[in-house]
């Protein structure tokens, strides 16, 4: 019993990945490129291991940085994590380079008294739900989100109350 239809259609040629532009192999060179692109907005970085790189950028540059990584470096946004650091929120954008398996974690810190950051949903459609979820659970406002209504919390959930946000001790 042959599997005729499958073997014909299965393509493994390299040109199928037409959208992804030039992917970079070396983690250091990725960091260098981002540094060049962002200039003063680049704060620091450390390479935890070959495939895990953490870069901290200023919150003003998040959108610019995401656009650069997604469109020019050809990475994919895996998810966005929000961590409550008591007086600040830490947003971590996990970008994946599908050729090399490099996970590039772009961190930015935003103050809790004014939790605002630029949205990347216009550039990356996949970030839409992710950002709405963070808005619901932590109250981080994504400026420029195309559809910032509630995704996961109910309508009778009280305003200014976020289930995963820590209360500050007064």
């Amino acid at each position: 019993m042959g599997l005729t239809r499958f073997s014909q259609d299965a393509g493994n040629s390299d040109d199928v990945l037409s959208v992804a532009v030039e992917q970079v192999k070396d983690p250091e060179s990725v960091v260098v490129k981002i540094k060049e692109h962002l200039g003063e907005h680049f704060e620091q970085h450390y390479v935890k291991r070959k495939n895990r790189v953490y870069v901290t950028v200023r919150k003003e540059a998040v959108r610019k940085c995401a656009k650069f990584i997604f469109e020019s470096l050809g990475a994919r946004l895996s998810t966005v994590t929000c961590v409550d650091k008591n007086f600040r929120f830490e947003l971590i954008y996990h970008f994946t380079f599908d050729n090399t398996g490099l996970v590039l974690n772009i961190k930015c810190l935003i103050p809790k008294y004014e939790p605002k950051v630029e949205s990347v949903s216009e550039i990356i459609f996949g970030a839409n739900w992710i950002e709405r979820e963070i808005k619901d659970l932590f109250g981080v406002e994504f400026v420029g989100h195309p559809n910032p209504e509630r995704l996961i919390l109910s309508d009778d959930w009280p305003e200014n109350e976020y289930p995963l946000r820590r209360r500050l001790i007064e």
Binding site: M1, L3, T4, R5, F6, D9, A10, G11, N12, V16, L17, S18, V19, A20, K48, R49, N51, R52, Y54, R76, L77, S78, T79, T81, V83, D84, I92, H94, T96, F97, D98, N99, T100, G101, L102, V103, N105, I124, F125, G126, A127, N128, W129, I130, E133, D136, L137, L151, I152, L153, S154, D155, D156, W157, P163, L164
Partner: protein, 395 residues
């Protein structure tokens, strides 16, 4: 033409799990989709902040019953990444074998459900029949048909005696392989199945990239995304994986990707059993790991990613779970628009949405909404009798 809203769900026979899709249709054509979540929300990320890193594998195993090996593996990988823990070789191989068996079980389960969605119950029964021996293998290897509880940070909890079980595994796999090929051909060649699946729910490569989809959904749209190849974890570097990519992007392409993966998984298991080394299955943790780590696993539905921040205690500071269905579900919007209502179940099904995974952290309490567009099932029922167009009445 007036717009009508057809609710699919939350409790609907096509969706074995509750979820609420609202198809806004003009006549028979879908013009917009609204999705609602939270029907299976259990607050897992909240619960994880109260449990130790040894308890969390048990918790994340219950995010989703179908990928109940991937989530614990992913969590353990994240912790191992944070604490620089080296997993013994034998443990890596055991993880690989269980993961691939799980992929076979999951894809056969999905194929059955997809056949059921287009009303082909005979095929559904056949696929599930051939899934049953795989469940037996799980029982033999791990002691349970589902929820295998094999993972722990730093290795696996139980050793497998491959001297005893090797023949059994290979025998079962060689028995179901010709049957799966036969069923696969009956899908690929049946004219009615083709009419229901070819060209249905097309997700272009451009959209696939914009929506950041993963797994078979991405590979059916021509994106080469497979964590097992681009960042080999467990024993995949040694045993090797072959990736099949289809460029059509329709429901049929995704089906074929999955069937190929089942066949490939069988090969991987064979190679892994041959090459498995002897040795310890677990490393002892001297002290709780510290730092942050990212774990990535290729679940049957795509890339599963866990982020964990550890502060030197056994209770993690933050666990973030992103299941593959969470990014695959939004991509339904471009797929559904322009199709018939009758195609909606198979389009939704072809993405293989795992609502339990997706809903692990959200919460909705009520569906009473004052929004003008969204009507509940009962409201629609009342309007249905008096007026064909509920929207008009509401506005």
């Amino acid at each position: 033409m007036p717009e009508t809203i057809i609710p699919i769900g939350p409790y609907h026979p096509a969706l074995k799990e509750p979820e609420f899709f609202q198809l806004i249709v003009e006549g028979e054509k879908i013009v917009d989709v609204k999705m609602r979540m939270g029907y299976i929300h259990r607050g897992i990320e909240f619960l994880a902040s109260k449990k130790t890193i040894h308890q969390i594998p048990v918790l994340v195993e219950r995010i989703c019953g179908i990928c109940s090996h991937c989530h614990p593996t992913c969590f353990c990988q994240a912790v191992e990444d944070a604490g620089d823990i080296e997993v013994p070789d034998r443990a890596r191989y055991i993880r690989t074998i269980i993961a691939e068996l799980e992929r076979i079980h999951s894809h056969l389960l999905w194929a059955g459900v997809a056949a059921h969605l287009i009303g082909y119950d005979t095929l559904f029964m056949y696929f599930w029949r051939y899934r049953e021996p795989v469940c037996n293998l799980f029982e033999l290897l791990t002691g349970n048909r589902q929820n295998y509880a094999m993972e722990c940070v730093g290795g696996v909890r139980r050793d497998i005696d491959f001297k005893m079980s090797k023949d059994k595994i290979l025998k079962v796999l060689s028995e179901i392989k010709p049957a799966i090929l036969r069923l696969a051909n009956s899908i690929a060649e049946d004219p009615v199945v083709k009419a229901r699946m070819v060209g249905i729910g097309v997700l272009s490569q451009h959209d696939a990239r914009k929506y950041c989809v993963v797994g078979p959904t991405a590979r059916g749209s021509g994106l080469k995304i497979d964590v097992r190849i681009c960042e080999p974890y467990d024993a995949y570097k040694e045993v090797g994986v072959d990736m099949k990519v289809f460029t059509e992007g329709d429901a049929m392409a995704r089906t074929l990707v999955r069937i190929h993966e089942v066949l490939e998984s069988m090969e991987i298991i064979g190679r892994a059993i041959d090459a498995i080394p002897n040795g310890p299955i677990q490393v002892e943790l001297k002290e709780p790991p510290k730092g942050e780590g990212v774990g990535k696993v290729e679940a049957p539905r795509g890339e599963d990613i866990h982020y964990v921040a550890l502060n030197g205690t056994v209770i993690p500071e933050r666990l973030k779970v992103r299941a593959p269905s969470y990014v695959n579900l939004p991509s339904l919007t471009p797929q559904l628009i322009g199709h018939d209502i009758a195609d909606a179940p198979i389009i939704i099904g072809a993405v293989d949405p795992c609502m339990s995974c997706t809903d692990r952290m959200v919460s909705i309490v009520d569906r009473k909404r004052n929004d003008k567009v969204i009507l509940s099932l009962e409201e629609l029922a009342q309007f249905g009798r008096k007026n064909k167009n509920p929207l008009k009445v509401r506005r």
